[in-house]
């Protein structure tokens, strides 16, 4: 495992809420895909059934945090300043994937965009745009 792999595994393993939701991640080079396997306890609307919108928001926020940990070693976990979430399609009872793109990683602020999808990447079910307060390591 290289450094980025190690950081990714340790960040997801260390966050209790990421474990509670069952979030995993796969890294290919510097490209990370976060995976949210379907489970009954992440359902919000039992009638359709559909994944809870809050869970999708949380999943995309975690994806952004994980991507930041891959991009650079941090002195501490980035703090979320704000997120703006758009819900495009209802989350079906199947595996959800997400990828984050860091638009800018500054000395204090990071701007990150995330997209979540299920069977078709070109048909995202939700997107998130977030601002994070970061503390990259000096070395």
């Amino acid at each position: 495992m290289n450094d980025a792999d190690t950081r990714l595994v340790s960040v997801l393993d260390s966050i209790p809420y990421a474990r509670f939701l069952g979030i995993k991640a796969e890294l290919a080079g510097d490209e990370m895909t976060a995976v949210l396997p379907f489970a009954q306890h992440i359902v919000g609307n039992p009638m359709l059934p559909a994944i809870h919108g809050g869970v999708l928001g949380a999943f995309m926020e975690m994806t952004a945090l994980a991507q930041l940990s891959v991009a650079a070693p941090m002195k501490r976990q980035p703090r979320t300043i704000d997120v703006s979430i758009e819900y495009l399609r209802s989350g079906r009872p199947q595996t959800t994937y997400a990828r984050a793109s860091i638009k800018k990683l500054g000395r204090r602020i990071a701007n990150v965009h995330v997209e979540a999808w299920q069977e078709t990447r070109s048909a995202p079910i939700a997107t998130l745009r977030g601002l994070f307060l970061v503390a990259p390591s000096e070395d």
Binding site: M47, G53, A58, R92
Partner: protein, 166 residues
């Protein structure tokens, strides 16, 4: 049954019937007149930063979304299905480790198709918020959709297999 009693039943159904709300232990403390006050109890499983023991931002997201949805139901005269269109959350400060988190949501405008909601999450004092949220909801979101609609293959899947979208 009064409107208030009916709204309370909807709130209970949304907390008990929604597996994620139940898994997080959401309860509704107050509901009525377009306002809902919900609580999530503090517990180790929902921590976001293990170094500080602070509750995960994502849990606050889910609580604000859920509370906002209940505020919409508290504003409507008759029940319809609703779906979150968008949600913006500002995180002002870390929640205090060990404390339950509350969310008060107010549906301040209801149109024929869309509801507008503002919400505040706090632990000790509503005037010292952890986070604020602003959300819009689509009303009658599952119009025509039957129970179990999401169990059928999606449009994209059907087009891949040459099926017809009916």
């Amino acid at each position: 049954m009064s409107d208030h009693e009916q709204t309370k039943l909807i709130a209970t159904a949304m907390n008990e019937g929604s597996p994620q709300a139940k898994a997080l232990g959401f309860t509704t403390l107050e509901i009525g007149d377009a306002v809902a006050l919900l609580k999530v109890p503090y517990r180790p499983e929902i921590i976001g930063d293990p170094e500080t023991g602070v509750i995960a931002g994502g849990v606050v997201t889910t609580l604000l979304d859920h509370a906002s949805g209940q505020a919409v139901h508290a504003a409507m005269e008759t029940w319809t299905s609703i779906a979150t269109l968008d949600l913006r959350i500002d995180y002002m400060r870390a929640a205090e480790p060990g404390l339950d988190v509350m969310a008060r949501a107010h549906c301040y405008k209801l149109t024929r198709s869309v509801a507008f909601v503002r919400a505040v999450a706090y632990d000790r004092d509503p005037e010292d918020p952890i986070a604020t949220g602003q959300a819009t909801f689509m009303l009658d979101s599952s119009a025509g959709k039957k129970a179990g609609a999401n169990l059928k293959p999606s449009r994209q899947q059907r087009s891949k297999t040459g099926g017809v979208d009916q």
